[in-house]
């Protein structure tokens, strides 16, 4: 599950050289938009009611899940256009640190907007994914090991969806012209321009893809723990995942996610009781710190080679 959020980071980072701090908030925004559309809420309902002294909250229709997802994808693509047009178009050729600061600003802004647009209550997101303990695995593992493994159906579907997403994205960025253009832009703006790549288009594409990945992550997390503000904090947990897996590696994001997720749970279970519990809050970060010291590029990161 962490891997899904981390994926969004890696994708944008690889394709535009920007470290996108707003990825978590984008997941929140996408999930809220999806729920809002599904339930037929009026966007900016509170604002409208305040200004015009009305009391509208719902359009009074329910949108089928598939349509709602499609509409949300369109919203996220629109968001990509917005971001490119108003922010990043003006920052072409700037230092990465400036672009990074811009994404922090974007994160704050988007947080406010999603609150304003859809309200801040916790919502349940139901997109019809299977939930609950998977009995088959429970039975099978009980017969083999003598213990039953409790694995949530939702986690299984998350893993499958993540695998499909990753496979698709890797193929897309590695073997198509647009993927190549994306990687070229990430590498060197000037050179990319000189072969005739339009930076605007590529960046919109990158942000739209990040938006879609954010939507998928938002759906999975939203279905698991409800759509709420803390969803955006999950993004912070993605940072240790990235340090572990390497900032530029898509498989790294997945493996890193698994290690952190499993390690966290095991550590809490084995060492937790000895030192008073609550290790889940810091375990990931300490692990990332250790990794930074001994292997700064992460498990799968690109080796830093420089010819002088």
């Amino acid at each position: 599950m962490y891997a899904l959020v981390a994926l969004g980071f890696v994708l944008i980072f690889k394709a535009s050289g920007i470290f996108n701090y707003a990825q978590g908030v984008m997941a929140l925004f996408a999930a809220m938009t999806l729920v809002g559309i599904q339930q037929g809420r009026v966007p900016f309902g509170h604002l409208i009611n305040e200004i015009f002294v009305t009391d509208v909250h719902y359009f009074g229709w329910k949108v089928p899940t598939v349509f709602a997802i499609l509409l949300t994808v369109i919203v996220m693509i629109g968001f990509a256009f917005f971001v490119q047009h108003f922010i990043f178009r003006h920052l072409i050729g700037q230092e990465p640190i400036i672009l990074f600061m811009a994404t922090i600003g974007l994160a704050c802004f988007l947080e406010g907007v999603s609150d304003l647009m859809w309200g801040s209550e916790i919502r349940n997101l139901d997109v019809g994914l299977p939930q609950g303990i998977n009995d088959a695995i429970d039975q099978a593992t009980f017969q083999i090991f003598g213990y039953g493994f409790f694995i949530d159906n939702l986690d299984i579907s998350a893993a499958i969806i993540a695998a499909i997403l990753v496979g698709g994205l890797v193929a897309y960025t590695q073997y198509t012209m647009q993927g190549r253009a994306m990687r070229a832009v990430a590498d060197d703006h000037q050179a990319a321009l000189s072969v005739g790549i339009k930076l605007d288009h590529v960046w919109i594409l990158v942000w739209a893809l990040a938006g879609i990945v954010a939507l998928v992550a938002g759906i999975m997390w939203g279905a698991k723990s409800g759509v709420q503000f803390s969803l955006s904090l999950i993004a912070l947990k993605a940072l240790p995942v990235l340090m572990l897996g390497g900032f530029t590696s898509i498989p790294g994001a997945i493996v890193g996610g698994l290690i952190i997720g499993v390690g966290e749970a095991l550590f809490e279970f084995t060492v937790g009781p000895l030192i008073g519990g609550a290790t889940e809050n810091w375990f990931a970060y300490v692990l990332a710190l250790v990794f930074l010291v001994f292997r700064p590029q992460g498990l799968f990161g690109e080796k830093i080679i420089e010819r002088v």
């Binding site: 193929a171 198509t176 190549r180 005739g196 080679i305």
Partner: protein, 204 residues
């Protein structure tokens, strides 16, 4: 703009004017980098510009390829009297270039670098590519064939799959040339093509 083709001693045919530069002046603050330059480039022509360091050779190439905007003057391609273009538009007009301080995509392989040179020849749509439908697939094969041709021509087959960042200077120069050639440009701008090359490489 019609001009009768003449043939040079080594058999190249000089055709019509492809690009003209008219009274171009470029300043950086108080420094005048280019002062009132005008010239034509014709089809099939090889034009060398030799000047001392700091005379403005690279600045002029940068004006032609759209990286710098001159304060005065015009640059016309194939007689189109359009305003100054952005770098990617210039590239789409069929003008490819190399840089003095090599600008390659260091993290990508040689083959990928060369393939980026074909980006302007791409005509399949976003959806075609995203789902790898027929047209995108056929195109990719055609582009790949062309890229391999150029790679063979410049004798860099052995490093096809090597990330460019690992290559020595001379090979990088050749990869950059390959990326420019594969676009089948009508004008090829080479900024200091022989700088830093040894005798053997120069002869090549």
């Amino acid at each position: 703009m019609s001009h009768k083709g003449t043939t040079t001693a080594d058999g190249r045919t000089i055709g019509s004017v492809v690009m003209e530069m008219r009274n171009t002046t470029l300043r950086f603050g108080g420094v005048v980098a280019i002062r009132d330059i005008s010239f034509d480039i014709r089809e099939g022509e090889i034009r060398a510009i030799i000047e001392p360091n700091g005379a403005g050779k690279s600045s002029m190439l940068n004006v032609i390829s759209g990286f710098y905007y001159p304060q005065e003057g015009k640059v016309w391609y194939r007689g189109q009297k359009c305003p100054l273009m952005k770098p990617f538009q210039v590239a789409r007009q069929g003008i490819a270039r190399t840089f003095q301080n090599i600008a390659l995509f260091e993290g990508m392989t040689v083959l990928d670098n060369v393939m980026t040179g074909r980006i302007n020849k791409m005509s399949s749509s976003f959806l075609d590519q995203a789902f790898w439908w027929g047209k995108a697939q056929r195109e990719e094969v055609a582009h790949r064939r062309k890229a391999e041709e150029i790679i063979d021509f410049l004798q860099i087959q052995h490093i096809r799959k090597t990330p460019v960042g690992r290559l020595p200077y001379g090979l990088k120069k050749r990869v950059e040339l390959a990326r420019a050639l594969v676009a089948e440009p009508s004008i090829l701008l080479l900024d200091e093509p022989m700088a830093g090359m040894n005798v053997e490489e120069t002869a090549f």
